[in-house]
């Protein structure tokens, strides 16, 4: 049995970060009921000007497993129905701008009045409080605010923008916080309001650099360099745009590497005798390693280096990941059947549990409002006539 079987989440999240949180929890067994409205569908169901896509962009993965209901939160009966839904849930998750849920009449205190031990999870760009809590933001802005973007990039170049991984990292942190809050609820009987600030997630990922900077240590962009390891970086292979990552952490690994690249004399070169000296002279290491990697197939080279105890991996595109036997064996990649019969590769469970080896995803993207019979009828006990009236009144819309 999946570890979170029996948990129910009323999911008001939109875009990427919030939906990823509830998606992760759904992969571990939680029942997630996604609330949407045809009045303003989740933006990720729509085309994106900046991405140049005309169809749904990135909705399928984070919507997999979820149940879908329509609910017009600008209609009083819609809000009333949302409260009923929260009344049968363990968690209410949302990712609107700070204050929106309260303006809709669904703030934490209201929901707590509906269900005393509800865990409400709010995911926002800057948190629920503070002078910039109203700021609009997406993943690249989270990274910019938090210092992660500033610190990423070439030493002679500009900052680098974070993409979806930033959103999803926020979602992963939110899922963690949700489970911690539930743990406390189990212990104390008390719910709480979990406030996840995306920009704080970004800064927490470089927390060590911020701590160092606070002590006056100079920190900045450093490309693919590490702070001590050398050789360390991306090296070309025999195939165009196929790059091999190599990281050497010890003298023993360095010695092995010199043999593999056919330059054992480098192990005796005083410029490279210790890790500190290799690091100081790291740019001089690039050429001999590139000379070797440039004649190698990337996968074979990675396997050879790993067999010798040197950390290496090819820079993988999605096409590499979806077909990888290791990822498939772990259930980290699986195939999902959509309702139209199409199958697609998707990301599976976030970890392997001894007590459960079921696939993380058991159904594909829900149709908008596709689960209303179950949710409104079976779960909330509304009659067919009541549901029809709410549809007629556009409270369910």
């Amino acid at each position: 049995m999946k570890p979170l079987t029996g948990l129910r989440i009323a999911d008001f999240t939109v875009h990427a970060a919030g939906p990823f949180c509830t998606h992760m929890l759904s992969q571990m067994g939680a029942e997630v009921i996604k609330v949407e409205t045809a009045l303003r569908p989740d933006i990720f169901r729509k085309s994106h000007a900046v991405y140049g896509r005309q169809g749904p962009a990135t909705f399928d993965q984070v919507s997999s497993n979820k149940l879908s209901v329509r609910l017009n939160l600008k209609h009083p009966e819609g809000v009333a129905l949302a409260k009923k839904l929260v009344g049968v849930a363990d968690v209410a998750a949302e990712s609107f701008r700070a204050g929106v849920m309260s303006r809709l009449g669904l703030g934490y205190e209201v929901l707590r009045g509906v269900k005393r031990d509800i865990v409400m999870v709010s995911v926002s760009s800057s948190g629920q409080t503070g002078p910039e809590s109203h700021f609009a933001g997406y993943a690249p802005l989270f990274g910019a605010w938090g210092g992660l973007g500033y610190l990423s990039g070439h030493a002679d170049g500009p900052p680098v923008e974070m993409r979806h991984v930033m959103d999803h990292s926020v979602g992963m942190h939110a899922a963690l916080a949700t489970l911690a809050a539930l743990n406390r609820r189990r212990r104390t009987g008390e719910g709480c309001h979990v406030d996840v600030a995306a920009r704080e997630v970004a800064s927490s990922l470089v927390g060590d650099f911020l701590t160092a900077a606070s002590a006056g240590v100079s920190v900045g962009r450093m490309g693919n360099d590490d702070l001590t390891r050398a050789p360390h970086g991306l090296f070309p292979t025999a195939d165009t745009d196929r790059w091999l990552s190599i990281s050497v952490s010890s003298d023993a690994e360095w010695k092995v590497l010199t043999t593999i690249i056919g330059q054992p004399h480098l192990a005796d070169d005083p410029r490279f005798a210790t890790q500190a000296e290799r690091y100081a002279n790291r740019r001089a290491l690039d050429a001999p390693i590139s000379d070797w990697t440039s004649g190698q197939g990337g996968e074979a080279a990675a396997e050879r280096l790993q067999a010798a105890g040197v950390a290496a991996h090819l820079s993988w595109a999605a096409s590499d990941i979806v077909s990888d036997p290791h990822m498939r064996a772990r259930g980290a990649i699986l195939d999902v059947a959509e309702t139209d019969g199409n199958r697609r590769a998707a990301v599976g469970r976030p970890a392997r549990f001894a007590g459960d080896d079921a696939p993380g995803i058991t159904r594909g993207t829900p149709a908008l409002g596709g689960d209303e019979d179950y949710v409104y009828g079976e779960l909330l006990g509304l009659s067919g006539a009541q549901i029809s009236a709410l549809i007629e009144d556009e409270a369910i819309y």
């Binding site: 948990l7 990427a16 571990m28 000007a49 900046v50 991405y51 169809g55 990135t58 993965q61 910039e132 700021f135 609009a136 690249p140 910019a144 500033y150 990423s152 170049g157 900052p159 680098v160 923008e161 979806h164 991984v165 999803h168 992963m172 942190h173 963690l176 911690a180 406390r184 189990r186 709480c192 406030d195 920009r199 704080e200 927490s204 060590d208 900077a213 606070s214 240590v217 920190v219 962009r221 490309g223 693919n224 702070l227 001590t228 360390h232 970086g233 090296f235 790059w243 040197v310 950390a311 991996h313 993988w316 990941i321 290791h326 990822m327 772990r330 590769a345 990301v347 549990f353 001894a354």
Partner: protein
């Protein structure tokens, strides 16, 4: 909230890498008692840069504040006995011991399940403990590329400036941090069952998970590439005194941008009326934005943009994060006194009420809590 959410939990941590230590950090800062079981020379993380001016590791400080430390040396005669004692009273065991070394130390999943069936045994390894690559090594740069995101960076301005350079990693330990966060989440999910069990977390899996959209795009028939997935317009924009990030996804934000740019003339072109049209002429729009921003100051731009509902943010340098208006108002940094003097340390990026969780502020020296091993052991029956 007066008590931390994980108060009462005890965690044993054997960590040589960032991912396992990050899992322990998150649990510790949420209230769990986390005991580092270190080799006699200490965790290698104690030496890992960045270093504070006096030589103390800022990374170890960040990852380990609030944790306790006992020496439990795998090469020593009492290792199994001491580990047994520690695990008997713990709820969660975090371990990044390489798979090949586990059986010899009686730390394999079968041995732990047999001796300590109550415990959530959380394995945290670069490629997991199961599968053809379970024995592979992985440092940060390997893992960001094994997870797919490395191949996709950089985009936008950096990609425009340096199209021939190799892919670029994210700063710091981004990939390993994802591994640790995901592992901690999985451990709490397992704990929710009320029964002990083995959980196999992989840093690679975690990074593939947070990179999920590239997988979905592949399913849609498209392999994303760093040079083609840049935003059609917006992104990193250079200003007179720094950089901002600009991203408009919704029409109302586009209209706000027109207002911000004072572009009522060219932006009225009917071809730009919808998202697809704007996307097709993204390069032209972006050139106009870049030309317009180059002589303006960051602070002025961001204030105007956010007032107009245009998502824009300053690329904050570390000192700007540490002293940021929002960060200060929310109290996310705590002053911690170390042998190197006072430093700022961030609290968790989420809170369970109006206030940030206080940062647990004691940095344990190696073996500072050795007396734990002298205590009379209890034994837990359930997770």
């Amino acid at each position: 909230m007066t008590d931390k959410p994980l108060s009462g939990l005890r965690v044993i941590e054997r960590a040589t890498g960032v991912a396992a230590a990050q899992a322990g950090r998150l649990l510790c800062q949420m209230g769990a008692e986390v005991i580092m079981a270190e080799p006699s020379e200490g965790s290698p993380l104690r030496e890992e840069p960045p270093l504070l001016p006096g030589g103390q590791s800022a990374l170890f400080t960040y990852l380990s504040l609030g944790k306790r430390s006992v020496v439990c040396d795998p090469a020593g005669p009492d290792f199994r006995k001491d580990m047994h004692k520690l695990l008997a009273e713990a709820d969660i065991f975090i371990d990044d011991t390489p798979v090949a070394e586990r059986t010899g130390l009686a730390l394999d999943d079968a041995a732990i399940a047999r001796e300590h069936p109550h415990i959530v045994h959380l394995s945290v390894l670069p490629f997991g403990a199961f599968g053809p690559k379970a024995g592979w090594k992985g440092d940060e740069i390997n893992l960001i590329h094994a997870g797919g995101e490395g191949f996709l960076l950089p985009n936008g301005l950096t990609a425009d400036l340096f199209p021939d350079r190799p892919p670029l990693k994210i700063a710091g330990h981004f990939a390993e941090m994802q591994g640790g966060t995901t592992a901690a989440m999985a451990a709490l999910a397992a704990l929710w069952t009320g029964e002990g069990q083995y959980v196999d977390a992989s840093v690679q899996d975690a990074n593939v998970a947070v990179g999920a959209f590239a997988i979905q795009r592949y399913g849609d028939g498209s392999v994303e590439h760093r040079l083609t997935r840049s935003f059609k317009f917006g992104g990193v924009i250079e200003c007179a005194d720094g950089y901002v990030e600009l991203l408009t996804l919704e029409t109302r934000q586009w209209l706000g941008l027109i207002d911000l740019l004072g572009a009522e003339d060219w932006a009225q072109d009917p071809e730009l009326a919808d998202e697809v049209g704007r996307s097709a002429r993204g390069a032209e729009i972006n050139q106009r934005i870049r030309d317009w921003a180059r002589h303006r100051k960051v602070e002025d731009l961001v204030a105007q943009a956010q007032t107009l509902g245009v998502p824009m943010a300053r690329y904050n340098a570390p000192q700007q994060v540490l002293t940021g208006l929002q960060e200060t108002a929310r109290g996310i940094f705590a002053t911690i006194h170390t042998p190197d003097g006072p430093v700022q340390v961030q609290s968790l990026p989420f809170r369970f009420g109006p206030d940030a969780l206080p940062v647990r502020d004691t940095l344990a020296s190696l073996g500072a809590d050795q007396s734990i091993l002298s205590c009379q052991p209890g034994r837990r029956a359930t997770a």
